[in-house]
Amino acid sequence: MSEQLATRPPRHFLRRIGSQDPIVVASLALLLGFVVGALIIITTTPAVLDAWRGLFHSWGAPGHAIKVSFDNVGAAYRTMFTGSIIDPQSFWHSLTTGKGWDTTLTPISETLTYATPLVIVSIGVGIAFQTGIFNIGANGQAVLGGIMGTAAGSMVHMPTVLHIPFTLAAGLAGGVISGAVPGVLKALTGAHEVIVTIMFNYVLYAFLLFAVLSTALQQPGQQNDISRTLDPSAQLAPLFGVGSGLRVSYGVFVAIAVVLFAWWLLDRSSLGFEFRVTGANPQAARASGMNARVIVIVVFLISGGLAGLAGVVQVASTTHYIDGEFLIGNAGIGFTAITVALLGRNRPMGIVWSSLLFAALGVGGRAMQATTGIPLDLATVIQSAVVLFVATPVLVKEIFRLRGAPSQTIELATKGWST
């Protein structure tokens, strides 16, 4: 099959539109996700519903209703764009007058700030997926990374040169420890990682509350679930200085380093090759002498470690403290990471692009809520809709009547309980 593809003459760019190219499928899934979001806005926004209610009152009513629908959806998606990437008016103003660059760049800075830990944790989840392992525990691992990083950054004092690496290492260690539990259990007893990591998430959330309420980590003089603040020497400083008002921090370089590491690991190292073979065909991996147990443990250590690193980067670059709600719920980057990794097909560069996209959706969702009053949860709904479509490429192909025989192979990222 692959040989046939390779010998086929290169096709014209435009013909790719009708093909089964994964990037095309992902783009169409994105389009469908936005359509779902638009339908939800139309069916739930009171102003739009009022317009539709008057459908039979006058001849102009249907046109009016359609216009109101488009206006609301348009306003929502426009503020999402201007709030997360760039506002053309503000950009033009800055360009012509040379002033207000901080306001103009704030949206993109926020998107990068949000994307930084997201890239790191998603790379971890993606490496696990490539090995055929579903790490739903990334969120809990990021939480433990955040806890240990906060402890290292606030309870130990040392100069910046040492303190930042120490804090990051502590977060990494937290992730490694919490990744080791499902990894070792899966390798030694065959416990399914999905259920173990879901359960371990809840254990770690409970531990988070315990930690931020403990005398060691709790902010002195506080009764609430709030931790101490990181020493300035342990914080990841804003790239353009504190005065710029732009939050994007030196954490970006951590993310770039992680991407390079993942590229090297997956594409250049023999360990990464073993990961991919194990993911593609466990039997072949075993037959060629790879030690499946060691691979499972190593993957979980790496995946968990990256999640922990993401947790500490999140703390050190934005809030500088954690509370009992840290990463809990849908806002948890560990859950977004699953969708990011799937959209990016688990490849480092794919994950970078999809992280930026989902970060923009999240940041834009906040702007949308502030301007139009449409709740920002819509962004998460769109994200999950996109991933549902990405996970079902055959459906996307059928909707758009893409050419090519419907795929008759089953691609699974996870295994059932019994394996």
């Binding site: 739930t44 007893t189 075993r286 849908n330 996970a391 055959v394 459906l395 019994s418």
Partner: protein
Amino acid sequence: MSAGITEARADAPVVRKVPRGRTRVIGVIMVVIGLFTLVAFGLNTSSKAHSALTFSPVDIISNAPWHLGTLTLLTLWTNVVLGLVMTAIGIEVLWRQPRRGVMGRFGLVSVLFLLALLFWAVRTPGPSQVSFIDLTSILVGSSEVTMVLIFGSLSGVMCERAGVVNIAIEGQFIAGAFVGAMVASTTNNYFYAAIGGLVAGGIIGWILAFLAVRYLSDQIIVGVVLVTMLSSLSSYLNLQIFTPYPNLNTGNVLGNFAIPLLDKIPIIGPVFFNQSAFFYLMLLLIGAVSFALFKTRYGLHVRAVGEHPHAAATVGINVARVRYINVVLGGAIAGVGGVAFISQQGQFQPGITSGLGYIALAAMIFGRWRPSGAVVACVLFGMSVYLADNLQTYNIPISTEILTMFPYIITIFVVSGLVGRVRAPAADGQPYLAG
């Protein structure tokens, strides 16, 4: 794996047994728990301290024609005995290494441990304001969570016996709870709310089946993403609909319906015969699901599809149809569970189900994909969830957060096979491609 022949035929179905080593590990864990109870809760207490055990919830004392009195026990000796019993069970497991029933023994030890913890917590003279354990009100209180969990795990049993992993139970709870709150507020009738939840959960089940059965997509991923989607959608709709129209989410709570005479029986009466309509429905469902899966022809088909879909197809069973039906029914059951949950909580709030769907999933695995086992696991998990929420009243020196971990840690033990062999239906999670 010891012989070369086994390795060469790695793809052949090998009958796996629990390695003896793991049974030994669980035996050691039981002995440690037993000794801990013996020392910390038993020998450590003053010999004068005593604990009281009562059986009558306050509100029905006057109604009951007769009621059980208070049982006062010496804390030290009671807990020493409980600790010794737990240790003995552990030693028995270590010694005999039984092939069956380890999980049941583990459940028993867990319950005894909770009991010993409670005896120790309410000892008088002691630090606690409460001087007695009311066994009946603990059972009644935990029955609310237990009921919801049972709905969820029955849904899981329905889907997974047909070979579809339903990790979206949490999402079906959310959908059921949301729709249930809305219908119950507008119609003021929980019967219609239950139907609304049934439909909502069924639709989520249908989406899962549509993507997993028809389009062969990854069931676990679809399930997880569905949960994310529903939890954010419910939070979105809560702001868009319930906030501007609070009359759609009034939060009326469904009252209990006492069965005459039977509710007067001590302990059993309040627990089983003075409950909401959803509780009776749940009792019926346990029987119905067990019967349908294990005593009917259709159930045989379902289990065949879950174990070996190709063989099932060969004898003329429509694999896709069986899976569709079961996943939609399972989703509907979990949807009703969501309504049952909201009928106690009243108002819908985002995140209100707080992972109960995942605990239900774990209970189903603990119960080895059987309705009866799942029910026992739900009772254990429901009690520990309830106690974790309510133990601060006893002023015990263990933090609530640590107690909250209890059901999750048990589940991790269980799926690690430490407690016994947990075998899923063979084709669970595998899409079926005809031909």
